[in-house]
Amino acid sequence: MPARRRLTLRDRIVVTLMIGVPLIFVILLVWLPALSSVALSFSRWEGFGGIGSIDWIGFENYKNIATIYPPFWPAIWHNLIWVGFLFLIPTPLGMFLAVLLDKEIRGSRLYQTAFYLPVILSLALTGFIWQLIYSRDQGLLNALLGTQIDWYGDPNVNLWSVLVATAWKHTGYIMLIYLAGLKAVDPGLREAARVDGASEPRTFFSIVFPVLRPINLIVLVITIIESLRAFDIVWIVNKGRNGLEVIAALVAQNIIGEASRIGFGSALATIMLLISSVYVVVHLRATTRGDDR
């Protein structure tokens, strides 16, 4: 490390500030609150009074969540459906579109634009736009099908309606990531496969796909993150009730509004943290491995 020895006192101060200030931001506003959520999850606190009024009750919140909090298991189930759905439908579709568009066909730009236009809209806005399609009396879908289904309101179908709207956005995002990844694949690899007489699907699955490993990992993490964080669209539709329970919305419900149950909400938040720690580790391993290269 030759550069380091030569640093003057002034430079040392500058370097410390440059890394220190952003670090303080992240620690103070992300890590400390995350740890506090874990700590508060062992307490009962209505949020009034000082820290002294907190009741420490051990694992009772967790016990209550698992046993006597009706929306919890549906929420877990819905989050699982969410991630499963995104993996099974929009992710392969986005990848398929990327493979097709990677062929340098005429009008590729136009097709691409159509598919990733939804990506730049917020999920909240996506929720609103799809309302025009899902509305029971005035929506496009019922008019086309001749049905009278309340797509956003009926607890039997609303999760799927919301998922279709989410997939609309997710597909474009995945397509874009794979398009970038495919551009980076060495053309020589495909050429060699073609000379050997491999079919196109065969080339893709046994040559290109394994090379895309880092991209696959990113897509995996993004899909799980989006599923766990699912909030905006659900909140827009009905604040996460009546068939649309998801964990993120349950946390919000327990803190906003009259009855703020801080300990209870924190336990839900901690469950989210635990789930997310799995993919954080996966992602960090991928990132740091990239650094070693």
Binding site: L17, I105, Y111, I120, T288
Partner: protein
Amino acid sequence: MKPLRWPRVVLHVFLTVMAVGWLVPLLWGLFNSLRDYDYTGTHGYFSFGGFTFQNYVDAWQRAEFGEKFLNSLYITVPAVVLTLFLSSCAAFVLARFSFKLNLTLLGVFVAANLLPPQALLIPIYRAFREVDLLNSYTGLVLINTAFQLGFCTLVLSNYMKTIPHELYESAEVDGAGVSRQFFTLTLPLVRPALAALTTLQVTWIYNEFFWATVLLSDGDKFPITSSLNNLRGEFFTDYNLLSAGSIIVALPTLLVFFILQRQFVSGLTLGSTKG
């Protein structure tokens, strides 16, 4: 000229059908935003006619979009500037110097970006209430900045690592200190990455919904994305009005997208190809 081949034709037909299908929700919204409510009321939505701009005028007034746009501006601009500046600083130190803790520090930033915001809600809400940041633009700017730092730091430090070390060495010979190296050497060289990140961050922070919903209680301060709800009545909804409102809200991101399309696309993929 290649002869017309069937697989190509099938491919184009497939892509065209998919692309048009993909645009239907947006086009349907645009179409109905331009139609009179009474006209669609009597003729149904499957009709043609009754075109008007009145929905836009009404939506603008009913949802106080003028004011809400300003609110979004007060949150988005400082947050984007602060995020990019702080992450450039952090990325510079992480890419330029190597200490033992380098990877750990990068991990602290990146992992923070991956945590679900909802999991931090309660302590943030309480802390902001204590220090009077609840219901303020400053609070939203701070939390958005903290959240986006990880992604930007990762992308920028990857980018900065491609700057050859010799450049810094010759700058040092010329007597440039660390801060001069940062401002006159590094920042100009990473301009493409900064441009891409700016477009991304503008859309993300402008679109941010969760923190704005939970940290702001005062309707006057809501950014434009959370104020669309004003157009949705409790018992009946004017879909033409709602369409117009949605289009108005989407307009800035669509503009940013079409003007800076190239940066946007490379920005979305910057972090991923290096992962």
